[in-house]
């Protein structure tokens, strides 16, 4: 039986599982939001955490307890680039900028990328990585 895609857009489920206030449907995230969520999942997944796919994920968590400086930031940047280029084929022209914030003991990560095959502008997204224990 041939398999055909129903939609060309990127459509993912939200793990919050909060129902839509009006339709009571499960929340759906699409396109850029779906990809951003995916990137966060990849970066935050620890290597060996996934069953039967032990190489998926990144080791950024290990670096969070190192000195918050540009050297560590560079390591984190390389790890983020590596995991995205290996496991997220939907993005292109990826630029990862990691800014150490020693005062608050955290790293700010700014991602700039283009979504392949979609006529939407270049996306920028930032998130904070912080050692919590």
């Amino acid at each position: 039986m041939s398999v055909t895609r129903i939609s060309r857009s990127f459509k993912d489920i939200s793990l919050s599982f909060e129902p839509h206030p009006v339709t009571k449907d499960l929340p759906v995230i699409t396109d850029a939001r779906a990809i951003i969520r995916s990137i966060r999942n990849l970066v935050e997944t620890i290597v060996t955490e996934r069953f039967f796919n032990s190489t998926l994920g990144s080791n950024v968590r290990k670096s969070l307890f190192d000195f918050v400086d540009y050297a560590t930031a560079s390591v984190i940047q390389q790890q983020v680039v590596e995991v995205i280029s290996n496991y997220e084929p939907r993005v292109d022209n990826l630029i990862v900028q990691v800014n150490p914030k020693p005062d608050t003991n955290e790293f700010e990560i700014i991602l700039t990328f283009r979504i392949i095959g979609q006529d939407i502008p270049v996306q920028q997204y930032s998130f904070i990585l912080e050692a919590t224990r």
Partner: protein, 640 residues
């Protein structure tokens, strides 16, 4: 796509199935990307399915004796058909010693438990006895003769019976030799340790008053004791005290100890400790027959067979199963021949040959033990008799051609050939009673050893080792169970050298085929004893010492020697090797003959293949003496 592969045990394939289903039935698209939220859900689903499938598969496998893999499940399934797997067996040694008590006691009792220490394989082991042994003191000396000591530590455990509980009597030690378990039950009216209870493995002839117990293996190779319920076997009374003694052993590691130091303790007639002067132990038999617990494969093999034999030795398979699983676990192979098949027939007898795992012969002591134990399984009127193993050795004389351009070292190639032949010789279908030496398989093994080997010409020789009775007039009969090839000129039978009474030179056996009245070769021949002045001399000029020393039946493969006094043999242990060429290159182990492929005495000649390597395109050189191999006997008078 329908989701129909319920039995899939591969995680990735389960995942692909779920994705295929979603691809056709969902609005969502991102499940194809590893980082997506949907991918996490799919992983969870697939993992769940995988675990369920694995569990179902495991449950199905573990429910049947043939496919179960966990020991506790295999023994539970075997238990349901009444099979108790063999425990570890302690190595037993037989020793004798004398003890001189310091007090004037009339009897001396060697206490159960530690008796002595001995060393085997550079380790020290303790040897114990499960029961007290008493000897009377004569002239101030107590003699303990032929005492069987068992390798292992003697332990004791007590239980108090409480019938209000669902009580289990578990011996908390692994590696127990169950044959050393002794159980005493002390009821309210009993004294001392109480009454000894008897181990049984089935409920034949058991009444409600029988003082019996059963054992069953539980987890981690430990044992549980089961007592009667008042219907089959006497029921335990409340507050009875059960005392269990047993020996925990190292199994086969304890084999081979031959020097022992005494460490036991004695009690005298007044039941107090008796001190004896230093005791020297003489070893009658070094420790042997220690074996490990019966493995899973053996349980799977023998449990159904023992069930089908119903504890009765009727046909030869029953004997094999009962001897291997119930009587003598050290058995590697068993041959059972009914007396009616023998020539002349011996009705009412069953002849049994046993090949033990570590060695060639079963000791006389073990033979008697096996025979006694077999008696209760065998049919009335049938007498089982254990006879010594008769080994039919198969040797090869192989000329192996190799392409020398592909070989670094000929010696290495030869070593490889010997190695592969040795591993073939250890296969069970060869080293067994009723085994068969398959000529074509051996040729394949040789050719397949290395790509450099281009061909081989292999001759097969069968050999029996005659153990000569030195300086005694003895008649010998040697059976090969395979038809001999007959060369009309003789020299079909060859032997190693030996000396006979009245002749100073070393002599050998040879044969002279008889001829029928029409000049054709008869089925029989005469065995002659000859001196060997020149190995390739014509048979008519061979110096014959005894013209007619016996007969040979070429068809039956039998040599019968007339009474003869052999004074010595060239080979050690009074052995004379007698060989013959078989008519067929496939050799069988007939009846009680144990077939053994003797690689160490086989001849391997490595010969350059001048044709394959391109040195001799026309084949002219190949036919010269150095490169040519005959497929027939070398015509020598004696065995070399």
């Amino acid at each position: 796509m329908p989701f129909t592969k319920f039995t899939n045990l591969d995680f990735d394939q389960i995942r692909v199935s779920i994705k295929d289903y979603l691809r056709a039935n969902s609005n969502f698209t991102d499940f194809d990307f590893e980082g997506s939220n949907f991918s996490i859900l799919i992983d969870t689903l697939a993992y769940n399915t995988y675990i369920t499938a694995f569990n179902s598969n495991m449950i199905a496998n573990e429910s049947f004796l043939d496919s179960a893999t966990l020991r506790e499940n295999v023994i539970a399934l075997a238990r349901s058909i009444g099979y108790v797997p063999k425990s570890r067996t302690a190595a037993s040694a037989i020793v004798s010693f004398t003890a001189t008590p310091k007090s004037s006691t009339s009897i001396l009792t060697l206490q159960s438990g530690l008796v002595c220490t001995g060393s085997a394989s550079e380790s020290s082991f303790v040897f114990s006895i499960p029961d007290n042994v008493t000897a009377s003191v004569k002239n101030g000396v107590a003699t303990f003769e032929n005492l069987t000591i068992k390798q292992g530590t003697f332990l004791k455990k007590q239980f108090t019976v409480d019938i209000s509980l669902n009580q289990k009597f578990i011996l908390n030690n692994s590696y127990i030799d169950t044959s050393t378990i002794r159980v005493y039950v002390k009821g309210p009216s009993d004294s001392g340790l109480g009454k000894p209870y008897k181990l049984v493995d089935n409920i034949f002839e058991i009444s409600s008053k029988s003082e019996i117990y059963l054992i069953q293996e539980i987890k981690d190779e430990k044992y549980e004791l089961l007592f009667g319920d008042g219907i089959f076997g006497k029921k335990l009374e409340n507050n009875s005290i059960i005392t269990v003694t047993y020996i925990v052993t190292d199994g086969r590691e304890g084999n081979g100890a031959s020097v022992f130091d005494f460490s036991g303790s004695f009690k005298n007639e007044s039941d107090s400790i008796e001190v004896c002067e230093s005791i020297i132990i003489s070893t009658i038999q070094s420790s042997q027959n220690g074996s490990d617990i019966e493995d899973i494969n053996s349980i799977k093999n023998f449990a159904p067979r023992l069930y089908s034999s119903q504890y009765r030795a009727v046909n030869s398979n029953d004997y094999e199963t009962i001897i291997k699983s119930k009587i003598y676990p050290e058995t590697e192979s068993v041959s059972v021949v009914g007396g009616e098949e023998l020539d002349p027939p011996q009705y009412g007898k069953v002849l049994i040959s046993i090949k033990p795992k570590n060695g060639t012969y079963v000791s006389d002591f073990n033979k008697r033990e096996i025979q006694n134990k077999l008696q209760k399984y065998s049919v009335s009127g049938i007498k089982p008799e254990i006879i010594d193993l008769k080994i039919l050795h198969v040797e090869i004389d192989s000329s192996i051609y190799y392409n020398f351009s592909q070989v670094e070292s000929v010696e290495n190639l030869k070593t490889q050939v010997i190695k592969s032949l040795t591993s073939y010789s250890q296969s069970t279908n060869l080293n067994s009673f009723g085994g068969r030496f398959k000529y074509s398989k051996v040729l394949q093994v040789i050719d397949g050893t290395d790509t450099a080997i281009t061909s081989n010409i292999t001759k097969v020789i069968i050999r029996r080792d005659l153990k000569a009775q030195i300086n005694t007039q003895t008649q010998y009969e040697i059976c090969y169970g395979n038809k001999f090839h007959v060369n009309s000129e003789g020299k079909n039978i060859k032997s190693t050298g030996f000396n006979i009474f009245g002749v100073s030179d070393t002599v050998y056996f040879t044969d002279i085929p008889n001829k029928n009245s029409d000049g054709t070769i008869a089925e029989t021949g005469t065995i002659a004893i000859v001196k060997n002045t020149q190995s390739t001399v014509d048979s008519t000029k061979t110096p014959i010492v005894i013209q007619s020393a016996g007969t040979v039946n070429y068809t039956n493969g039998e040599i019968l020697l007339n009474p003869l006094i052999i004074t010595s043999t060239v080979l050690s242990d009074n052995i004379i090797e007698i060989q013959a060429f078989p008519e067929s290159n496939d050799i069988i182990g007939l009846k009680d003959l144990y077939l053994s492929f003797d690689v160490s005495k086989s001849k391997i000649n490595m010969i350059k293949d001048v044709i394959a390597s391109g040195d001799d395109i026309s084949g002219v050189v190949f036919q010269t003496k150095d490169y040519y191999s005959s497929s027939y006997s070398n015509g020598a008078l004696t065995r070399s």
